[in-house]
């Protein structure tokens, strides 16, 4: 991504148009790794079920990390699992995003004080884009988290390093 920096000046017209197209394409077909950890995974399944359909936003669960763009960490991350999550994150091809769903993966949640086996927040292992609060967050909260992520992608730029 860095190479383009030197050649083009601040967002001229040619870049702006293709940029919007690429951003629009990336944000309207976020493929999710079909993988859940704990109670938040049940709410994630309820979100992709008929009542709060995830598919409306173009999000389909893909079984293998190779074909997915967004990984939703839904549930408590323990140390034994943190190593696997780090490897799973590395398997995903590059424009990848992370939604940390539920207070357990945000900061350790109800297990922050006495949880000797709980990792206090998944951002200690992988970079997180959007945090969805709640224990478990309601499906609407997860949908809002997804919209926040889509907003973030809409303003990404291949020229200027996003702040």
């Amino acid at each position: 991504m860095g190479l383009l920096d030197q050649e083009f000046t601040e967002g001229n017209i040619v870049i702006a148009k293709t940029e919007d197209l690429f951003n629009w394409a990336r944000l309207s077909s976020l493929w999710q790794v079909g993988f859940g950890l704990a109670c938040c995974a049940i709410e994630m399944m309820a979100t992709s079920a008929s009542h709060y359909d995830f598919d409306r936003f173009g999000v389909i669960p893909r079984p293998s990390p190779r074909q997915s763009d967004v990984i939703i960490i839904s549930g408590t991350v323990t140390f034994k699992m943190a190593i696997r999550i780090k490897r799973l994150y590395e398997q995903m091809p590059d424009p990848k995003y992370v939604i940390s769903m539920g207070s357990c993966s945000n900061c350790g949640g109800p297990y922050w004080e006495h949880g000797y086996h709980v990792l206090k927040g998944v951002d200690r292992v992988i970079p997180v884009d959007v945090y969805v609060p709640g224990c478990p967050p309601r499906p609407e909260a997860l949908l809002e988290g997804l919209l926040k992520l889509q907003e973030k992608i809409r303003h990404e730029s291949i020229v200027k390093k996003s702040a």
């Binding site: 394409a25 309207s28 077909s29 409306r56 936003f57 173009g58 893909r62 293998s64 190779r66 590059d94």
Partner: protein, 357 residues
């Protein structure tokens, strides 16, 4: 035909041949794949009480366009332990196999890729490439799940080719021709001349053939379903068992190639069933073009009828996918070797006797 018309237009053969061979790909398969992927998601959504893609374009129309552009931007991950050449070549081979089949399929009276006499045998032979591509993909991605998926795919496609061939043999015994163009021409004028209703024969022979033809249509439909790895035979890329089978390690455009090949294969297979039994591009009620006297309208109508039948069978495949559970590997093999193949032998025998009548 199209080739002669283009030749008279452009003057040199190579250009005409080039355009004719590229026409099915750009004019038909790519748009079809875009629509089919969206249709599958919409059909499955509405079958499951939900809406499917809605936010991308009006009612989700641009969803597949967005998917393809996104897949273009994806990093092309090639694991170090993979066998590079095979890994990169496998999706091409799978797509080549499924696209080559369209060369011999008559889209309408006016357009056919190449009017070869061995049309149907060519198609079955060329889809053999798909098996090689899948095995290559499974082996090269150095992943246990892909290997299992590829082994299953090879076993399944090879064993389901036998009932397909036997049913094709019965059609050949009945109609005496291998070329799909002639097959479509035989089943002209009204739907009771279609082979599913006993073909263009008369009296007792037609009556005897009808049950056999319906049964053989069912057999060829299920066995071609298995050849294309669609549920209930989608064990090579069974999500719940083998993560996603032979294309677990593929990402970005290579995965899109597999995806595209699967939908192209789906249409090729339903086109074959439509041609063999439902009269290819023949219209069931005669042509508007003839009655109105515009002769140029007839090929357009034929093209319309051909795609209508093909899309109907593609819809049935989608319908099956979202209702039926999946077979296990040995049940699938048993179903093929213990039921489909004996049945098709019996049908071949009886049809042979009937034609002697």
């Amino acid at each position: 035909m199209m080739y002669d018309w283009l030749f008279s237009l452009t003057g040199n053969e190579i250009l005409a041949m080039f355009i004719v061979s590229l026409l099915p790909l750009f004019a038909f398969i790519l748009p079809f794949a875009l629509i089919a992927v969206l249709a599958e998601r919409k059909v499955s959504a509405h079958m499951q009480d939900r809406l499917g893609p809605m936010r991308v374009g009006y009612h989700g129309i641009l969803q597949t366009v967005a998917d393809i552009i996104k897949l273009l931007q994806k990093e092309d991950l090639v694991a170090t332990a993979t066998d590079k050449t095979l890994f990169n070549f496998a999706p091409l081979l799978v797509f080549m196999g499924s696209y080559a089949a369209f060369a011999a399929i008559p889209f309408s009276g006016f357009f056919i890729g190449s009017k070869i006499d061995l049309g149907i045998i060519f198609i079955v032979g060329v889809t053999g490439l798909v098996v090689a591509g899948i095995l290559m993909a499974g082996w090269a991605s150095n992943n246990k799940y892909s290997l299992l998926g590829a082994m299953r795919a090879a076993a399944q496609i090879i064993s389901y080719e036998i009932p397909t061939l036997l049913i094709i043999l019965t059609i050949v015994v009945l109609t005496g021709t291998l070329s799909l163009y002639d097959l479509s021409e035989i089943q002209t004028a009204y739907f009771w001349n279609w082979l599913i209703f006993g073909g263009p024969f008369f009296g007792l022979q037609k009556l005897l053939l009808i049950p056999l033809m319906i049964l053989s249509c069912l057999i060829i439909y299920t066995s071609t379903l298995a050849e294309v790895n669609r549920t209930p035979f989608d064990i090579p890329e069974a999500e719940s068992e083998l993560v996603s089978g032979y294309h677990t390690e593929y990402s970005g455009m290579k995965f899109a190639m597999f995806f595209l090949a699967e939908y192209a294969n789906m249409f090729a297979v339903s086109a074959i069933v439509a041609i063999l039994f439902f009269g290819g591009y023949q219209s069931p009620f005669g042509y508007l073009g003839n009655s109105l006297g515009w002769s140029w309208l007839v090929p357009v109508e034929q093209f319309f009828w051909f795609t209508a039948k093909g899309l109907f069978f593609v819809f049935v495949q989608m319908w099956l996918r979202w209702t039926l559970p999946r077979f296990r590997v040995d049940q699938l093999m048993a179903f093929c070797w213990k039921y489909l193949i004996p049945f098709s032998f019996v049908i071949l025998l009886i049809v042979g006797l009937i034609t002697l009548m």
